[in-house]
């Protein structure tokens, strides 16, 4: 949103100015030329925008509308789509693997998101105090977010957590001999969550920015009143940065719903089928991908995509509704 405000102010702004001047002064001469000028500038504006407009129409909006249509069809990519009404949607509810994917993704969102944000906030609070080598630490903690979504990190992660690999051996030094984590349906999910939590850099940077905005006087005043560290955190830090928490939460939840690459790589080769050991890592987008591109059921996959969109929309709506209760904006009524 901010980007459009910044990138196209001149066109929009001048047009509005022009209208304002036109209304009180109806003399034909200058108004006509002003209108011409405005029109020309509007045209130029649209021309500048056109690459993005074409991009959105062709690459986002178009495919989305097509997929909405396909969601109501039986479509195998090769024969023409056949209308089946709501059958794809009703099939989902009797599809065990669909439920499994909803369960896995829900669990991941519920655990990974708060964990990641908690770590991000914790590290941000450590890094906000000026100290030596601050820049280095900030970059170091941010680095995993830059490379985390890549396939290579998934592979490294897999190698770390395999049977008799680094993690397994380190833990056995402390008397825990659990075997590798990857092949065990009970432990593959924690592996995936750990990988996600480790990429806390992006929310951390945002938290850092938020923390810096909190006025020092508030803390000083609280200290004078005898408030302890926990009390200061709960009564000052959290309320003051709640808009940032809200923003991060929203972003990370949406992000978590769409987890794909890391699950795919961690679970490794699955004999042409997704899901990892006992379908324990069958995340939603992955099942969608399998149905669409392996099983050639693009209609069903499209319907699944729209269900995911609906799910994310509901969660987002609930979050927005709930923010009245816990997010404090400075201009707001407190």
């Amino acid at each position: 949103m901010t980007s459009t405000d910044i990138s196209a102010p001149s066109v929009d702004g001048e047009e509005r100015d022009d209208r304002k001047t036109r209304r009180p002064a109806p003399s034909p001469g200058p108004a006509a030329s002003a209108r011409r000028r405005a029109r020309r500038e509007t045209l130029a504006g649209y021309l500048f925008l056109s690459p993005w407009c074409v991009g959105i129409l062709l690459l986002t909006l178009g495919p989305m509308l097509v997929s909405l249509y396909l969601a109501f069809t039986d479509y195998n990519l090769f024969d023409s789509p056949r209308w089946v009404g709501l059958r794809n949607f009703s099939e989902m509810f009797s599809d065990d693997r669909w439920w499994q994917s909803v369960k896995v993704t829900g669990l991941f969102v519920l655990i990974a998101t708060p964990l990641k944000l908690a770590i991000a906030l914790g590290v941000a609070m450590l890094l906000v105090k000026p100290r030596k080598g601050q820049g280095f630490y900030r970059s170091a903690f941010y680095a995993p977010s830059l490379i985390g979504a890549s396939v290579s990190i998934g592979i490294v992660w897999r190698a770390l957590f395999q049977d008799d690999a680094v993690v397994d051996r380190s833990l056995s030094l402390f008397g825990w001999s659990g075997g590798g984590w990857i092949g065990d349906p009970d432990w593959s999910m924690p592996t995936l969550i750990a990988l996600s939590a480790w990429q806390f850099g992006a929310p951390m940077v945002i938290f850092l920015a938020g923390l810096k905005q909190v006025p020092r006087e508030l803390y000083e005043a609280a200290e004078v009143d005898g408030a302890g560290a926990w009390r200061r955190f709960r009564s000052i830090t959290l309320p003051m940065i709640s808009p940032v928490v809200f923003f991060n939460l929203l972003l990370e939840i949406i992000h978590s719903f769409q987890i794909f690459t890391s699950a795919l790589v961690i679970a490794g080769p699955g004999g042409g089928r997704a899901g990892g050991p006992g379908d324990s890592l069958l995340v939603y987008t992955w099942y969608l991908y399998e149905q669409g591109f392996s099983n050639l059921r693009m209609g069903y996959a499209s319907a699944m995509a729209w269900m995911l969109l609906a799910g994310i929309a509901v969660v987002t709506a609930v979050l927005f509704w709930s923010q009245r209760r816990w997010v404090h904006y400075e201009e707001g009524g407190r």
Binding site: R40, L43, A44, P51, G268, P269, G270, G278
Partner: protein
């Protein structure tokens, strides 16, 4: 002043837009043939790097003999290969020629994606006269020639020679499941973290042979050739053996992927295709050997010859060149020498005789030679076979991991198979 400025900006924007459009258009139109009469064909296959190294050598050879044809290559592992292929094919841009197998002939044949190569055979661009017995018709579906074999393989037990010798069981033609179970039991008790056999309850091709030994088969022309009760017994038996500690636990075998349990030295026997011996022996120092599938009656193994093939896309603009390419790949003796048995025993007499197998390849040749007399016609592979195979493996995986009961797993499999086979 400002109006002139805006006009020039407008024009510039227009110009920039046109340039961008031009770039887009030229980008999309790329990949055509260059003007010097040279034809480019695209070839893709699945496999690991070792296969790619060999194939690239054969392509060099081909391009030297056919300087007017250029071959562009692309390969992935099995699972990724087909998702990429599907995406390309759906976009009307599949490779001109690609690796294929029985499981996919009907699936893509029905969708009119595969070129009927009979016309090219008639035109003399593709010579099928030299194929070894049982292979000439391997790629034929309903009278159409949809694939040409590049290698033949049959199912086998890869076993640990020393482990079997120790317990006094010799895997040989005519051995029975009783012999096999006895050996497995003895081996499993002998050592910690070592089991008599891998848990292959999810391997469709093994279950197919087991059914064929009883006069049934995994597939009929139309759908599944067995009942839920049959499968409950097959999976139930495997679970029981596993609980008795006779089969490699799923948690262990999952960890060592992509290695197999036998080459990771967890088990003494594994059921698979015979050409996998090449890969397995490269992964372990243990002595491995091949034996036919155990039987019920001392005779019938149910085995048949399968093959990897080359298929051509029905949309190719260069059917002649593609046929020439396939012809070269299956008939040229030098190609046979380079490829060895990477994709199975070489398909034509010329290649088979040109290549002198050593090591594991020699064992594969000897093994296939020894079972030839028992081989029977192949089980039908209806459209959807690949999906069913993957479901069979994955659902049994859940059963073996203990996250699904045998009964639930069987019900789930039959549900998914019904969807996949469209019956």
């Amino acid at each position: 002043m400002s109006s002139r400025l805006s006009r020039t900006t407008g024009l510039r924007a227009l110009g920039a837009g046109l340039v961008a459009l031009g770039l887009l258009a030229s980008g999309c139109g790329g990949g055509g043939d260059s003007g010097d009469g040279k034809v480019t064909i695209r070839y893709s296959w699945w496999g690991a790097q070792d296969r790619a190294d060999l194939i690239n050598k054969t392509i060099e050879l081909f391009e030297k003999e056919h300087p007017n044809i250029e071959v562009k290559t692309d390969f992935q592992e099995y699972g990724d290969f087909w998702t990429k292929f599907n995406t390309q094919a759906a976009g009307g841009n599949p490779p001109d020629v690609f690796q294929n197998s029985h499981a996919f002939l009907r699936k893509y044949g029905q969708k009119n994606l595969l070129l009927d190569l009979n016309a090219q055979v008639k035109a003399g661009n593709l010579d099928l006269s030299d194929f070894r017995q049982g292979l000439e018709k391997a790629g034929e579906v309903d009278g159409k020639l949809l694939g040409v074999p590049v290698g033949a393989n049959t199912f086998t037990v890869v076993y640990d020679v020393e482990a079997f010798k120790k317990v006094g069981v010799t895997p040989e033609p005519g051995w029975t499941w009783e012999d096999f179970d006895k050996a497995v039991e003895k081996i499993s008790g002998s050592k910690k973290d070592f089991w008599g056999a891998s848990d292959n309850g999810g391997v469709m091709y093994l279950y197919d042979l087991y059914l064929r030994q009883q006069g049934k088969a995994f597939f009929t022309e139309k759908g599944l050739g067995f009942t839920e009760a049959d499968l409950r017994k097959w999976w139930g038996d495997h679970r029981e053996k596993s609980k008795e500690g006779l089969l490699v636990p799923a948690k262990q075998s999952e960890q060592v992927k992509p290695k197999s349990s036998v080459s990771a030295e967890l088990s003494a026997a594994e059921f698979t295709w015979d050409n996998f011996l090449v890969r397995y022996t490269s992964e372990t120092d243990k002595e491995l050997a091949l034996a036919p599938i155990p039987t019920m009656d001392g005779k019938k193994t149910g085995q048949y010859l399968s093959s990897l093939m080359l298929s051509a896309s029905a949309r190719t603009k260069h059917p002649e060149e593609v046929a020439t390419f396939i012809d070269f790949m299956v008939n040229d003796p030098e190609v046979g020498k380079i490829m060895g048995y990477n994709r199975g025993v070489l398909p034509t007499n010329a290649q088979f005789e040109a290549y002198k197998p050593e090591g594991p390849d020699a064992m594969i040749a000897e093994y296939e030679n020894s079972v030839t007399e028992y081989l029977e016609p192949i089980t039908p592979h209806p459209a959807g076979t690949d999906t069913v195979e993957a479901a069979f493996l994955s659902i049994y995986g859940s059963v073996a991991q203990g996250t699904t009961s045998v009964d639930d797993g069987v019900a789930q499999f039959f549900g998914e198979a019904k969807t996949a086979l469209g019956s």
